[in-house]
């Protein structure tokens, strides 16, 4: 009985330890040659401010298309574009917020 309780606790704990960003983004992007940081910097260079970047990301997840992608044509030709996101709105927003916090430039320059 004790063993069962410990196992359930470990499973529940480990599932909550992964945040929305890790659950939904990292697994898919692990296989790509461009890291999420590199993609973030491309978004930042294209969209500029925090709100703009977040809106751009949100829009791309919902309506992915080559002509609005920040990636190069060679990359898109080789890997194509991602399918329509299945993540719900709340989860997507959380993931994007975490993504911004992890890679933002503001406050990190010296």
């Amino acid at each position: 009985m004790v063993r069962i309780l410990v196992f359930v606790s470990i499973v529940l704990f480990s599932s909550h330890a992964d945040d929305a960003y890790e659950r939904n983004c990292i697994k898919c992007h692990e296989v790509l040659p461009f890291s999420l940081r590199e993609i973030f910097m491309r978004y930042l260079a294209a969209y500029g401010g925090e709100n703009n970047v977040k809106v751009g990301l949100n829009h791309y997840f919902k309506y992915p298309a080559k002509d609005i992608s920040v990636m190069s044509i060679a990359f898109l030709n080789h890997y194509g574009i991602d399918h329509h996101s299945k993540i719900n709105e709340k989860e997507l927003k959380q993931a994007i917020d975490i993504y911004w916090q992890k890679h933002k430039v503001i406050g990190r320059l010296k």
Partner: protein, 396 residues
């Protein structure tokens, strides 16, 4: 209302001065506005010239800094050291105007201009990035403003502005004099006319007064006595006018012959002189006279007293009262007459100014009073209320 006249008053009429002041105020305001506008335009132009001289250099700096930002963008976060340059300070802001990083010393940030001077004397050059390296849309470069151009500009503004003010002020006075010359010509013409006619009044007037004095009134009837009294009053009125005109045209430049005058006796003498005139209007005198001496030309002092008493009779109501108080250094003459409106009091000393045309005269009496008062460094105050009366106070 209190009006004080002193020696500081110049020879211009108050109305003349008022016109002159109005014109000069308007002229000076317009002139200053134009000079300020030109100075402003010149200052802005000099600032633009200064910006222009630094723009190419700052554009080159910006180009170099953007290249460094691009490199940092690609190496961030492994390298997070913001590129510094000893020639300038810089800062980057995103398109939402949020500061990403800044080394700028001035907090005066303006996203609407591409180059400007801050309130703390720095020059800011703003470069917009088309690709937002590190998220930056605006790159601000800052260099100190040495202020040399500003010093030179202010120097030029003060020198040339000052010269322009002096030049235009001289022109202004010239134009003002041109405007006032017709008014002066009219006054000179009137002066000349009075001077010419005054000469002709003396002999007949003296004859009338001498003969009236010689008439034996006891031998004539009461009716004729009244008529002779009226002739006497009329002759004295004309005589008074004659004295004023003579003074203003001939005697005002005679300064000396000052003597110690006992004013109490003089006033009593003048009241006796004006007695018949006062009685014709049933006016009574209330006197409170103390012994008082003054060092003055007796004739001029008589003109002052005569004119004030004459006015107090002329502008008094029938059955009115004239109060005369003499103290050591103060003479006060009050009447219970028609008074003077508040706005007109400052002009009572102007020559040919008369506010009430029901009585005779040229409007020169108080002008003579003022001139004598100023000549002897005395002070005169006029307090008046319409329909209540006027009080004239002379202090010496």
């Amino acid at each position: 209302m209190l009006v004080s006249k002193s020696k500081g008053t110049n020879s211009l009429l108050a109305s003349e001065k008022k016109s002159l002041y109005r014109f000069l105020t308007l002229y000076v305001l317009m002139m200053m506005s134009i000079i300020v506008l030109i100075a402003l335009f010149y200052y802005q132009n000099q600032e633009k010239m200064m910006f222009l001289s630094k723009r190419d250099m700052l554009s080159d700096y910006a180009y170099e800094q953007i290249k460094k930002l691009k490199i940092l963008h690609n190496t961030f976060p492994a390298d997070n050291a913001y590129p510094r340059d000893s020639r300038f300070k810089s800062g980057i802001y995103d398109l939402e105007y949020v500061k990403i990083f800044s080394l700028l010393e001035s907090e005066d940030i303006d996203f609407t201009k591409d180059m400007y001077r801050t309130s703390d004397n720095k020059i800011h050059f703003v470069k917009t990035l088309f690709e937002y390296y590190l998220g930056a849309k605006y790159l601000f470069l800052e260099i100190p403003d040495d202020g040399d151009w500003r010093e030179e500009t202010w120097e030029n503004i003060f020198i040339f502005g000052g010269l322009a003010i002096v030049f235009f002020t001289i022109i202004g006075f010239y134009i003002a004099n041109l405007f006032l010359s017709p008014m002066r010509s009219s006054l000179l013409l009137l002066d000349r006319f009075i001077k010419d006619t005054t000469h002709e009044l003396n002999t007949p007037l003296s004859t009338i007064l001498a003969n009236i004095e010689m008439i034996d009134t006891s031998s004539i009837g009461e009716d004729n006595q009244k008529k002779i009294n009226r002739i006497n009053i009329a002759a004295k009125t004309v005589s008074q006018l004659y004295q004023d005109l003579t003074y203003i045209t001939l005697e005002q430049d005679i300064h000396k012959n000052d003597e110690k005058v006992e004013t109490k006796a003089l006033i009593e003498n003048r009241i006796e002189y004006f007695d018949s005139l006062a009685k014709s209007k049933d006016i009574t005198f209330v006197l409170d006279l103390k012994k008082s001496y003054i060092h003055i030309n007796r004739h001029k002092w008589t003109r002052v007293i005569d004119n004030i008493i004459s006015n107090a009779i002329k502008y008094n109501n029938r059955k009115g009262v004239i109060y005369i108080t003499l103290k050591k250094n103060t003479l006060t003459i009050s009447d219970t007459g028609i008074g003077i409106e508040l706005t007109k009091i400052p002009f009572v000393f102007d020559r040919y100014i008369r506010f009430n045309h029901s009585e005779g005269g040229f409007g020169i009496g108080l002008n003579i009073v003022k001139k004598i008062i100023e000549e002897y460094d005395m002070k005169i105050e006029i307090k008046s209320k319409p329909n209540e009366g006027t009080q004239v106070v002379i202090r010496w």
